[in-house]
């Protein structure tokens, strides 16, 4: 839906070519594109303005050699500044207090506080071997306490019971007392969602804060939040001494400009991001990745990680070894490739994450048929183990048999064989010249969409 900033800039900065430096006059249009991209990503308007000013100052006078793509120079400045504003690196929780360390969650309704409490408990248990006590001070939303109770059971963490008749402050205090006596490392205090303009509720959370003196007070915010993120973050930051932010629902396709707004307005680091419905879907926040995402430049690192998670490592290693030895890439390997691709949510899902590709994925969805992939696996399944291992023996009558076996035509089998031969060639090249050579070969063959050639090597 959104064109990536890189695509758009590629067009706009064309005319910069041939000029020696970036000046106020010649980057106007480019800055307008950046502004648009940031607004479409829901970065708050005041933040957009200060950012544009900053980029302009930084960019002005930067040398643009005629041989280089000026768009590239410009975009790397934008990316650099965005990362700088986002915070240079990931900041972890600071739980180095006399145990129990109290963590207080705050945020609007529906931001994902309760789910995040459970994810955080699991995270702390797995990564830092800390024992957490979960407690809910949400006496307002129906079944909110049960929700946390159920989640606590799911992750096998201890839950401190509370009822809607109790006062939130008293609940929190009792939970911390209990945790102290029972040697918990951490107490995670869930609170009711509240509007920042509801003074009564804001006073309530201030009193909870005063009662339990948390070492971490985390503001939980939905990554889909629009311009209002600036208002709410400011209000919560003024009411409570926030120590960090958790960005939720980042597995959607929102650009998450709210992250930048909140970071800029509160100055507080974003510590985690929620990335799925499962209780283990909580990741450390990586400013650089979100920066790319805001700019619509794809998220290569997340893609790599996702691939690493979902790919069967043993199989992948086997293939890598095979390829590096220059051995033949056979149908068994091709089948594995197809299957792993299906595991990862298919081509469209993969492409979505590549720089310059978000638009492509939309277009490709209609063309790359997932069924086609299954059909090809079907063809391979109709081959004998020998045929799979030695594709070259597949000739006329074998082809006919295979076609019959999978209910397709001989032409379909031919097509697959052709594809396999191409891939085999590519793998051979890779084993000799490495990835770079292959990319060049693909580019030369027109295998990549035009946007990709222009935006390759954006400085990741």
């Amino acid at each position: 839906m959104f064109d990536g900033l890189s695509d758009r800039l590629a067009g706009t900065v064309q005319k910069l070519r041939g000029e020696g430096r970036l000046t106020e006059a010649n980057i106007q249009d480019a800055l307008r594109d950046v502004r648009r991209a940031l607004l479409e990503a829901d970065v708050a308007l005041p933040v957009v303005r200060s950012f544009i000013d900053e980029v302009k100052t930084q960019a002005m006078g930067e040398a643009v050699l005629t041989s280089l793509k000026p768009g590239q120079v410009f975009i790397s400045i934008v990316q650099r500044e965005l990362e700088k504003m986002m915070g240079q690196s990931n900041e972890a929780l600071d739980l180095s207090a006399q145990p129990p360390a109290v963590v207080l969650m705050a945020g609007l309704q529906g931001a994902g506080k309760t789910t995040t409490v459970a994810k955080l408990a699991k995270y702390l248990k797995q990564r830092e071997n800390k024992k957490s006590l979960l407690v809910s001070c949400d006496i307002y939303r129906p079944a909110a306490i049960e929700q946390l109770h159920t989640l606590a059971n799911q992750i096998e963490a201890e839950f401190f019971p509370s009822t809607t008749e109790q006062k939130p402050e008293a609940i929190a205090r009792a939970a911390v007392d209990y945790a102290r006596k029972h040697f918990f490392d951490v107490v995670l205090v869930d609170t009711a969602g509240r509007l920042h303009i509801d003074t009564e509720m804001m006073t309530e959370i201030q009193s909870i804060h005063a009662a339990v003196k948390p070492v971490e007070t985390l503001f939980v915010v939905d990554s889909m939040t629009g311009q209002d993120a600036a208002n709410t973050a400011r209000a919560f930051d003024e009411a409570l001494p926030l120590t960090g932010v958790i960005l939720t629902k980042t597995d959607g396709d929102a650009r998450g400009g709210a992250a930048l707004s909140i970071r800029q307005i509160t100055g507080k680091p974003i510590k985690f991001m929620g990335s799925g419905e499962k209780v283990d879907a909580l990741e450390a926040f990586h400013p650089d990745r979100v920066a790319s995402r805001i700019l619509g430049m794809g998220d290569v690192l997340s893609l790599v990680e996702e691939v690493q998670q979902k790919i069967d490592h043993k199989k992948a290693e086997k293939l890598a070894k095979k390829v590096s030895k220059g051995k033949n890439f056979d149908f068994n390997d091709l089948k594995e490739q197809f299957e792993q691709m299906q595991n990862m949510g298919g081509m469209a899902g993969l492409l979505e994450k590549l720089p310059g590709m978000p638009g492509m994925a939309e277009k490709l969805k209609g063309k790359v048929d997932e069924r086609e992939m299954r059909r090809m696996v079907g063809i391979i399944n109709s081959m004998t183990p020998k045929e799979r291992k030695f594709p070259d023996i597949i000739k006329g009558s074998r082809k006919r048999r295979i076609a019959q076996g999978c209910g397709l035509q001989v032409q379909d089998v031919n097509r697959l064989i052709k594809q396999q031969i191409q891939m085999r060639k590519m793998m051979k090249k890779m084993s000799r010249g490495g990835m770079a050579k292959m990319m060049r070969a693909m580019k030369g063959g027109g295998g990549l969409p035009p946007g990709m050639g222009g935006s390759g090597g954006l400085g990741f």
């Binding site: 308007l45 303005r49 529906g110 049960e146 939905d222 889909m224 629009g226 993120a229 396709d253 929102a254």
Partner: protein, 346 residues
């Protein structure tokens, strides 16, 4: 510094507009024809929403009043300022330029020279975009049960809205049954049951992990045997990017069609007013997957303005049925374009 660039770029824009008739300017031609006809019918505003939204508006209202009343004559900077205000309300780049273009057109046509008229014209332009969406949800008397399927992203307020909807229909003298189709989230069933208790309406549930399609099917079956008027079905919150979960919704629709080919009679997307530009994409994806018939915008009692509704109105032309303005059981109101715009600009 920045506004200097912006103004310059606008100059470039306006010089090129005659050549390329953008969809925006076509829209505005279409609009200006009917501006005057609706101009007179806008000043009646129910008191209820006003007071509910009072806190919402404060910040925006103050700055708007400063802007509208504080300056004497209309100049380019004022229009720029207006644009800024629309953008800050999540109206988005495209809808904002559509609105501003239409405003420009009106300005030159009517030769407006005072702030009050500018304000009025802006409101009219914005109302024109939203008015086609102002279609109340009317229950078909001949359809029993009338099935409402409630869908949306996680945390937009589906379950809470269902609680309020049940109250809304009960007050109209309808019998209501709730279906606990959110079988995924912890304690979602209990949450809906609590709303059932508050409204004294039955809730059909099977528990966490059950097949939502089967729960909702049972609920509709049971409602039709008990001659209940309205079934409101909850579903688990889901991101529009998760294909498998969108398939699950399709399945619910397929299964419901076995009881009544027209069911669900209303597929309502619940949207958080705080959402930014992604909300358009959400609505598009949900619409594409299961065919929405209405929208409800929640959490308008905060400082969020829900400006993305303008893009959604222009792109999808979906009826907006309700707005949520608080946590109370009565805090769900039918949507009125005039009210919404006035609340946003006041």
């Amino acid at each position: 510094m920045f506004s200097f660039i912006k103004r310059k770029s606008r100059k470039v824009d306006s010089s090129t507009t005659p050549a390329n008739t953008r969809s925006a300017s076509r829209q505005e031609d279409h609009n200006t024809g009917s501006v005057q006809s609706s101009a007179s019918a806008s000043e009646s505003k129910p008191v209820g929403l006003s007071s509910s939204l009072a806190k919402t508006r404060r910040g925006f209202a103050d700055s708007m009043a400063d802007f509208i009343l504080g300056k004497k004559s209309i100049n380019a900077a004022m229009i720029d300022d207006l644009e800024t205000r629309l953008l800050s309300a999540d109206v988005g780049m495209d809808a904002t330029s559509t609105i501003i273009d239409a405003l420009h057109n009106n300005l030159s046509r009517k030769a407006i020279n005072n702030e009050a008229a500018l304000h009025h014209t802006l409101a009219e332009v914005m109302k024109l975009i939203l008015q086609p969406c102002e279609q109340a949800l009317i229950l078909d008397e001949n359809t029993r049960p009338f099935v409402i399927l409630v869908v949306g992203i996680n945390g937009t307020g589906k379950t809470t809205s269902i609680g309020k909807l049940a109250n809304f229909f009960k007050q109209q003298g309808k019998s209501v049954l709730l279906a606990a189709g959110d079988t995924f989230r912890a304690a979602a069933v209990e949450q809906l049951q609590e709303w059932g208790k508050r409204n004294a309406v039955p809730v059909v549930a099977q528990g966490t992990g059950a097949d939502p399609a089967s729960v909702i099917f049972d609920a509709v079956e049971s409602a039709s045997s008990k001659k209940i008027d309205v079934v409101i079905a909850d579903t688990a919150g889901r991101l529009h990017t998760q294909d498998n979960l969108m398939e699950e919704l399709k399945k619910i629709k397929r299964v419901l069609a076995k009881i009544d080919p027209n069911a669900p009679h209303e597929t309502l997307l619940v949207m958080d007013a705080g959402f930014g530009q992604n909300a358009l994409h959400q609505a598009e994806q949900f619409h594409h997957s299961i065919g929405l018939t209405g929208l409800a915008v929640t959490k308008l009692d905060g400082t969020a303005k829900g400006g993305i509704l303008f893009s959604i109105a222009e792109t999808l032309k979906l009826p907006v049925r309700f707005i949520g303005v608080g946590e109370g059981i009565n805090d769900l109101r039918p949507f009125h374009a005039d009210e919404f715009v006035e609340a946003l600009l006041e």
